[in-house]
Homo-oligomer: 351 residues x 2
Amino acid sequence: MPDKVRIALDAMGGDHGPAVVVAGAALALQKEPAAEFLFFGNAAQVAPLLAARPQLKAVSRLTHTEIAVRMDAKPSQALRYGRWKSSMWLAIEAVKKGAADVAVSCGNTGALMAMAKFELKMLSGIARPAIAALWPTLRGEAIVLDLGASIGADAEHLVNLAMMGAATARILLGIARPTVGLLNIGVEEAKGLEPVREAGRILREEKLPDLDYVGFVEGDDIGKGKVDVVVTEGFAGNIALKTAEGTARQMGEYFRAAMSHSLSARIGYLFARTALRKLKERIDPRRSNGGVFLGLNGIVIKSHGNTDAEGFAAAIGVGHGVVRDELLAKITFALGRHHDYQRQALGGAAS
Amino acid sequence: MPDKVRIALDAMGGDHGPAVVVAGAALALQKEPAAEFLFFGNAAQVAPLLAARPQLKAVSRLTHTEIAVRMDAKPSQALRYGRWKSSMWLAIEAVKKGAADVAVSCGNTGALMAMAKFELKMLSGIARPAIAALWPTLRGEAIVLDLGASIGADAEHLVNLAMMGAATARILLGIARPTVGLLNIGVEEAKGLEPVREAGRILREEKLPDLDYVGFVEGDDIGKGKVDVVVTEGFAGNIALKTAEGTARQMGEYFRAAMSHSLSARIGYLFARTALRKLKERIDPRRSNGGVFLGLNGIVIKSHGNTDAEGFAAAIGVGHGVVRDELLAKITFALGRHHDYQRQALGGAAS
C-alpha cells in the first residue's frame, strides 16, 4: 500500500470547472489526509481557489495550461487540439509518468477515454477498455460494467470484464469473493446472446478463485442486489444505467407530485420530512459518483460532468480507494492466472 | 372497423391459470360490451368459472383441451408437445383460421412467440418479430419496441420497427404522427452502433408521412417521454424494460421504508395516504400490461404471467384496441409505402 496517494486532477473539466474541482479536492482531503493533489488547468482561475484553501494548497501542485477539452468535443477533435497540452491530457500523463497514482476528471467522457487509451495503452491480454461504477441496490451496492466504453463483446472480453469487475468489487465493496452475474435477457441457458452464453460456460468451468460466478441475471436483478458484480458489454450497460437513472428520477417526480397533491398530503410531508430527507440522501446520485476506467495501464476516474463538490469528492474517494488497495496489481494478477489456466487447458487438450 | 371483436384466450396460461383469465375476460367485457371470447383450455376447470358469469358465458365459446404449455418449458419443448393441441396453440390457430381477430395469453413468452411465428408466419417484408408495449412516462405513455423477441437488428429491421411502432402508437396513444427515436448510447451522430446510425440516416432521408423521426434518444429519455416511440433491438430493449421495472420497485421499497421509519413519518403517511394511493394506482404495472407481437400475419398479445384479473383485462383491452383500429392493415400499408419508396429510390439511382 502506497504511503501517499497522489491524485492528478483535470481542473478544467465538467460543467462547473475549477470551482467544483478545487472544492471537491478540499472535501476529499478531509476524508483522506494522506492524499496529495496535482492540479492541471488555467492558473488564473485555479490559483485563487487554492489560495483560499491553505490546507489543500499545502499538499497540492498546480501546473498551468490554457487548453481545456470542451464538453461537447468529439474524441477525435479533443485529441487533435488537446493532445500534449490540455488539462485532461496532462492529468493522464502524470499517471503515465508515475508522477500521480490516479487521474480524476469530470470532463467529456469520450475524450477522456480516447486520451486514456492513447497515453496509457491497454493492459496485456485486454483488448478494449471498460467503465465500472457503483450501482445502489436494495442490498447495498453492486459494481456494474461496462457502462459504455466499448460496444459489443466477445466471450473472452466478458470473462475479462468479470475478473476486472470482481477485483474492483473486492476493493470498493470490501467483499473477498464477490458474486458475479452475466446480464442477459433470460435465465435459461438457451437464451440470449451467444458470447454471453459462451462466457458463462468459461466462468463456470474455470472456477476462478477470486469470484463466485452465479449465472445469468436480468435487468431487474441489478437493483435487487442479486449479485455483487454485473457484467455486460457497453451498449446494453449504458442503456441499463441511463434507463435506471431516468426511472429513479421519474419515480421521484411522481412522488413529489403526490406529496404536494392536497393540503392533507402536504401536512403528511411535514411529518415525514426527516425520514424523506434521509431517503433523499440515501438515493443521492452523488454518493455513487465515479466511473473507473478499467483495462488500461493506469487508473483514470470519470466523474459526472454536472456534479458538485461533494460528488467530485466521492469520485476522488473512489480513485483513492482503488489506488490504496492496488487495483491494477490485483487485476494484473487475476489476468495472469486466467491466462495460465487457459494455456494449461489448451496444453492439456493438445497432449 | 369490425362490428364485433372476437378474442381468443389461452385459458391455461400464466401463474394463476383459468381463474385469472376468466375473471379478466369478465372485466374486459364490461369495458367492451361488443367483445366475444373463444376460450381454449381444460373444460373441467374453465366451464365452472364461466357458468358463474352468465353475461360472459353468453358471448363465449369454450374449446376443450387437456394440454397446456408449462411456464418453464423451452420454446422447442413447447412446440414438441404443444403443437396442434395445446390451449396456446389453439388460441393462435383461431386467429390464423379467421375464427378470432386476436389471441391473448399470459403463458410462457418464448413458447408463445415460437408458436405465433410457426402458425402465423411473418408479414411480407419483415424478417423477424418484435414485442411492443406501453411504457409510462412523465408526459403520459410511450411505445417501446423490441422488448425481447429478436436479438440484434440490422438497419432495415430497425426501420421496420419504427414503422410498426408508430402504427401501434397511432392506435394505442391516439397520436396522428408520433415522434420516433432510436435508442442509442449518445446523441451525437458519430456514437453508437453502426446499424442504429444507418437506420437514423434512412429515417431522416425517407421522411415517412406517418412518423416524425427526431433522432437518437438515450435510456433516460424513455421515462422523460421525449418521444412517443422508442426503437431498439430486443436485447437492449429487454434489459431496459427489466432494469426500469427493477428500479421502480427499488424506489418504491426505499419509499415504503422511509414512510415507516419513525412515528412522525408514519403519522405523515396517514395524512398523505389518499395521495399515495392515487400514486400507487398511477404507477400500477397492471395498467400498462399487454405486449403486442408485431411483424406477424395476425395479432397476438402477451400478458404478464403473474398478473391478476385487472391486469389481464388490460391486456385484452390492448388487443381489442389494436384490432378495432386495424393495426395489421395500417402496418401493411406503411410497409408497402416504404418498400415502394425504396424501389423508386433505387430505380432513380439506376436511371
